[in-house]
Symmetry: C3
Subunit: 340 residues, 3 copies
Amino acid sequence: MPNASRFRLHEIAERFGLSLHGDGQRFIAGVTTLQATDAPAETLAFLANPQYRKFLATTAASAVVVRAEYVADCPVPALISPNPYAAYARIAALFEPGVSAPAGVHPTAVIADSAKVDPSASVGPLAVIGERSVVAAGAVIGAGCVLGEDCSVGAGSRLVARVTLVCRVHLGERVLVHPGAVIGADGFGLAPDQGAWLKVPQLGGVRIGNDCEIGANTTIDRGAIDDTVLEEDVRLDNQIQVGHNVRIGAHTAIAGCVAIAGSTTIGRWCLIGGAAGIVGHLTLCDKVTIGAMSLVTHSIDTPGEYASGTPLQPKREWRKNAARFGQLDRLARLLLRKSD
Amino acid sequence: MPNASRFRLHEIAERFGLSLHGDGQRFIAGVTTLQATDAPAETLAFLANPQYRKFLATTAASAVVVRAEYVADCPVPALISPNPYAAYARIAALFEPGVSAPAGVHPTAVIADSAKVDPSASVGPLAVIGERSVVAAGAVIGAGCVLGEDCSVGAGSRLVARVTLVCRVHLGERVLVHPGAVIGADGFGLAPDQGAWLKVPQLGGVRIGNDCEIGANTTIDRGAIDDTVLEEDVRLDNQIQVGHNVRIGAHTAIAGCVAIAGSTTIGRWCLIGGAAGIVGHLTLCDKVTIGAMSLVTHSIDTPGEYASGTPLQPKREWRKNAARFGQLDRLARLLLRKSD
Amino acid sequence: MPNASRFRLHEIAERFGLSLHGDGQRFIAGVTTLQATDAPAETLAFLANPQYRKFLATTAASAVVVRAEYVADCPVPALISPNPYAAYARIAALFEPGVSAPAGVHPTAVIADSAKVDPSASVGPLAVIGERSVVAAGAVIGAGCVLGEDCSVGAGSRLVARVTLVCRVHLGERVLVHPGAVIGADGFGLAPDQGAWLKVPQLGGVRIGNDCEIGANTTIDRGAIDDTVLEEDVRLDNQIQVGHNVRIGAHTAIAGCVAIAGSTTIGRWCLIGGAAGIVGHLTLCDKVTIGAMSLVTHSIDTPGEYASGTPLQPKREWRKNAARFGQLDRLARLLLRKSD
């Protein structure tokens, strides 16, 4: 990874408005973890999770971003922030290799006659842009992406590679979509009819707000009549399935492999744990947190944490307990009868 | 979305054999939901689910498809059908933008010498068709699809975009496959051998019946010796995993994120809820319905509904109950001993 | 499938060092299952799972691979092996159609100036190889693959088709990656900051050991600071999600649809059942087996089998039992109070 960036610690402090404690002349050329014993020279670490405090005394980092309360324990120079993780994120971006995405359309890309690509946008090799689709200023359409018809990609958005926007998909500004994501495929609409399934046309689209992030191989279906909607700053991890006409509120973050069935509305600032499921036609209010692999089967109108499932156990014990689950109502009736 | 279609209500009634109630001269130029308060002019809605009956009185639609029993409550002209959802589906198709897929092979597609593409088929930009693969009349191979060797796509089938058929995959007629689907990858066959895994060759293929639909990023592995089989009119949503040598009966519909392990047979007209799991080497009879996120661990020979799992609760309550699950056999023994 | 291979049984016995019982002059031209009633002529089956012993007497195969103890029951010639499944796997490979992958770069592939492709490697149609990426001797990059920047593919590895290596992904030798897999996308790192999410740069990479297999549409994120690591001979089925900084030990096999959250370490020779979940920052020791759809929420330091979940039941029964689960702590307290 070619990376010529190298900064003195005091330069970093000044650039991000952080207090400096200790030698500001040290060079920082990259980042490391607090606990790394083989940290390269000239690297910076951070301490956010108190559980990692034990690694502070022996850190091999050249400097650490910490809360003020930990400065005294820090054996190396420190940058002080009330939010060390966010401060670290900003500093780490200094060392991120740039994306190679020259403005203009790669000669192997295939652009429909009626499509419009801003001259400052980048369309990579072997990308396809369909009829009436629009790519705004500074957007990056990576290698092998396919945009169908009537899509739009807002300014500064980036489709990393091999992303598909099927049709009527509208991305806001600074949206980041990872490889393999499919946005705007047909919702799963079927009517039973004369002994077979009749496909229900999916006439809506998908609207993705500014600053959203869509993970690798995540799928977001387009709406049946109205649109499927993600408000701004929604963050989706990999392999999430979002059914047609779902609406996800601003700032909600969803971990990998979550399945959200059609027409469900999720509020703002919700946190959905990995591999959870949410059935269709529900409403979750703001600030709901769902545990990993939990199944949400009813609407939720009170913020807070929710979960379902049973604990992991050695299989022999689990098998006995699971068998008793199958008798639970009978056992409860027996208990309650005896309690009368 | 360019769409010049506009019909008088009586024309729609005649075309689909529906009874008309009220003013047949009204124009219909699109569809809307019954409850939409901002429905565009000249739009048609439907009432199928009785729970939505409450929206009928105030609908902003220009006309509604209803069962005969609701006509009296309908404040706007009505089309009468015993199956309003199916009638709606047929009408909505009038307003679906056509797929732009001109017959012929796009100049950027790569076609193997021994492949055969019917002149009426459409092969889109940057698609690849491998040796001895065959594309039948009227089929559409969308942008960026890859067909490997010895595959066939039946008449009128459509691979939307970026679909992969790996090898020995045979699609019937009118099959619809959404982007990112991978059909015919190696089944997961491993033999432990001398302290490592030995790969077991996957020599079978995949056969998909007529009128099947395969969702975005769904994967269907090819068989180890025999083929993996979907009978006709099987409907798979997104991100479903179908293991090698699975057989799925006609008209079965499977919601998103379901995992089906190898060599399991599922009957006809089954309904599998989202994110459910089915372990390998089982047999499910016809007309089995499985709840969302349930795990099927034994064969089922009686039609009906089945489920597993525990209810969602506030995390504090859930945690206490889940801990008791871990003691369930002990508690049950205590109870039963006391009941003696 | 063109396949001219045809061997006498004694030739197969000699090639793989197996004992022959019965007529070695028979021809074998393919494989079949033991139970197939319509087995083609000249096919070989195997008996590994004792449950299939019942099919031995009536097998239509021309020969069978069996353990010595079953030879007497075998009505056709037999090849004898202590590990019939592994012996079968080796024999079946004789009948596997070769992959058509001529050395050299297809004229439609797009190779960055600073990329290096060994002359003996094969780069298929419409593949893209980014700056500073390296493809070693005999490797196969299939149609439509996208390698980003600073990746390497070891000798003899094969990316079947439409695989994405995003950046800083390093594959060892003989690694097999199936279509739709995305390796090296951004880990899911977010810091809450001033009422929105701040993206945390993902500066690490991914390292995949020799002889690993990665299933279709599986995703493996790159690390935040350090790398995400798979040791040698790790076998991942389809649609698995591996979060950033996960480490998976050698020879571990993971079934489809498993979700592994970030920074978890899994030991060697573990077996993870389909659709299981493993939360982040855990450590699983060697030789842990996890049941299908189980959720691992704590570290495991004892080898053995573990599971969670409840049994599948008819929905009416399940509903009653599930409702009682929601009262379980109260019921247990009642029981224990009465037991005092």
